[in-house]
Symmetry: C3
Subunit: 332 residues, 3 copies
């Protein structure tokens, strides 16, 4: 049974790991009248404690989440999961009794790289070709370790020699993907159960070190994400981008009920024939939404008349769910 | 006679092709109390219909504009033209009796690449050298087909051999331009007939595939625009940028009465001696203004105390013209 | 004696050189009820006079500042210094009797490149290795003339031959710095005496010609700053970035009382091991804050509930100081 049934809808708390997008999530939750709880690694507690919109900062370790379950529930807490939180706590997060905003089953589904990509293909979204061995791969190619995260664990092979040589040194499992020639673009969406629609929210480009350094050729390219830049898309691309977002949401709904709830992201390369090739996705809020924090995104104004950020979009959804006694529809 | 004379200034509609900058134009028009009409290709109608600020979505084809003329006039419609609309409807747009916000004669003028660039030179604005044949050109050079659009139909030649070889394969007419070494910067302006001034509005950088991909040398560079990034200019450049904008407006006024009305754009490279070289312009709203959609631009606050977007700037101009019974001054 | 003691705290004027960040400073000062004075080079006066939020535009030359001292004091003026103002007026700025918002002694301290970098090292912030001769330097290296400014006076040497050759042609004094491989990131802070805290305000990337042109290899890279792009940082970097900002403020306070007042900036490369290497700083407002002009920065909302720009942050500090009769605490 979803613990949210026992919650007082007028006394909801919002909790998340103090990292990634916690600041925008908690600031917006505070503005919407929710109590805010930051689950913080010891070292970062002073930083998060310095902000008055965060009501409570709880110390956590990767293994301490289970112990907080009852305490979170007693506070009527809803957890907003994000990539760093999923990584930090590992599988223990989906075992919590505390309600999670979004679909917790998707977190488990994503642990398998094969089934993960299947959702995209089933949605009819173009994806890069994938190769299981260096000999059958085309070049340039990108090699991705199974545990790749935050831009670490990738490398580029420009030619067959480089690919064979680099792969021969790997001891971990990996996949080889076609390196699609074009420009990166990450699309943010929101699946609203309360309003029954998929909203296009924004887009960003990742800022990666060292590949976004400005003098090429000084070192091998690496792809460690250190920030994000706001991207405004050509308007003629938007109908297709929204269509892909909707198709993806339908594929998730078919495979992993109750489907997508709240923010998600498709991560693409746009080729020079304007084809969008999606190489990855996130089933929850991405750090790229931070580019709109507090200011709001241009596209959100299309739905709400004024720009709001993703933290506000989440807070609004929870608020509407609480008001309509429908918190079960937005949590798992 | 300008059909706008027959309009009820309290019941103006705003119409544009559903693409390019339609969303910011129509959202702002709606906020200012105008009725909004999106002229949409069949395939994009569901997308535009999903937004409540768009009152009507009319199906169009490239050849159907003429047939809508009377209907548009009966709605007191003012058309906001943009680059995609001019391209989509071709010369038929300037034959409409429906009033166009801006100077429709400039649209015809721009069809000739020679006379187009003449306006910049007449304004005393530095432009790239142009060559009529590969043998007289300096390298690196950019070769531009007459019908180049949205970043398609350009290519770079790094040396004389590449230039000669590539030009020899072309069957369409083209011009060869000096490839100016520096960084691109696009400046947005607004020529206000109601306030009698040129305003500097903002700046952007285009995001082009595949040239803005991050690993150079994997493929020949292409320049297909897929988005825009906001650019904040060094303040010491602003007086010169505004001066160029004013000089250009004067050149248009001399050559193509009644001159510039509403948004326009100068498209430049800034060299490392801080010289600004303008290689192209647009006589109407550019997609780069989308980077400020809903949020507003920093420079607009210098005139209005708070940031507004280009859609709002247009709506404000029409509103002031309607209130002062001067719609004839902002339409042709 | 600080002339601010004689000021009527209800009739403060804000003055700055008309360049760099003057527009955001003066617009915000105007909104907070201060009288605004732009000190402008003759050629730029029409530009600055065109904005109604600037109450007075005074003509200046590099040598005319001394003569304005009494006039500024009679207006109860507080000067907001910025990099272009310090460069334009040279040492004469620190001899003024007119109160300067911030620590004027830091301006003198920074004239010596050696003591300048000492502050960073004393704060325990990682800095690039520095070499006094080309023979002991590692490559790639960046060579920086003592008078380097706004991105001029730098060059890159990729290998030892290039380094030796280029250095041999220099007649001015220079330093050689390790060229740190990674991506640039500039962090904006505000040291508030009124609220007793260091605030993290925002971040930007410089847009430099010609190095940010998109076709590498067409010319030697140059680094002339022509604009700025907004950067949103990975949230997990923020605690460290704030810690560096605080450590730097403490180092300044120990060495140059009364320490940092108002805006400052640390200028870094982020390596792909996530290490932040600070190669430069500014003890006052940087042009990078212009990316948030009028719109406000995401991080400022963490402190104030809504986004404000750096001009507003300064105006708020002066307003609070004036209200509490503490203008002496924010000026020198």
């Amino acid at each position: 049974m979803n613990a949210v049934k026992s919650y007082d809808p007028e006394k909801i708390s919002v909790a998340t790991l103090a990292s990634h997008t916690a600041l925008q999530i908690l600031l917006a939750a505070h503005k919407h009248g929710f109590r805010t709880i930051a689950l913080s690694a010891e070292v970062n507690m002073p930083f998060y404690k310095s902000f008055s919109f965060i009501d409570e900062v709880w110390p956590v370790t990767p293994s301490s989440l289970d112990k907080m379950d009852s305490e979170l529930i007693s506070r009527n807490a809803v957890i907003i999961p994000h990539g760093s939180m999923v990584e930090y706590f590992g599988p223990s997060i989906t075992r919590l009794r505390t309600p999670i905003f979004g679909n917790r089953h998707l977190i488990d589904w994503e642990r398998n790289q094969e089934s993960k990509m299947k959702l995209l293909r089933e949605a009819g979204i173009p994806t890069p070709r994938t190769y299981s061995s260096p000999t059958e791969a085309s070049v340039p190619a990108i090699v991705k370790l199974y545990g790749a995260k935050g831009g670490r664990g990738y490398f580029l092979a420009r030619n067959r020699e480089e690919l064979a040589l680099k792969c021969s040194t790997l001891t971990e499992p990996y996949i080889i993907q076609e390196y699609v020639i074009g420009v990166p673009a990450y699309y943010h969406y929101f699946s609203s159960k309360m309003r029954g629609r998929i909203e296009i929210f924004g887009a960003d480009i990742r800022y990666e070190t060292n590949v976004d350094g400005r003098i090429p050729g000084l070192a091998d390219p690496t792809f460690v994400v250190v920030g994000n830049l706001p991207l405004t898309l050509r308007e003629s691309l938007l109908p297709k981008i929204l269509k892909y977002g909707e198709a993806f949401a339908e594929a998730v709904e078919r495979n992993i009920p109750p489907g997508l709830i709240g923010p998600y992201c498709l991560e693409s390369i746009i080729r020079d024939d304007m084809e969008i090739v999606v190489f990855e996705y996130s089933g929850r809020i991405v750090a790229g939404t931070n580019v709109y924090a507090a200011l709001g995104s241009p596209y959100s104004a299309l739905y709400f008349g004024k720009p709001i950020d993703m933290g506000e979009r989440i807070a609004l959804e929870i608020e509407e769910a609480a008001a309509g006694n429908r918190l079960e529809d937005v949590t798992t």
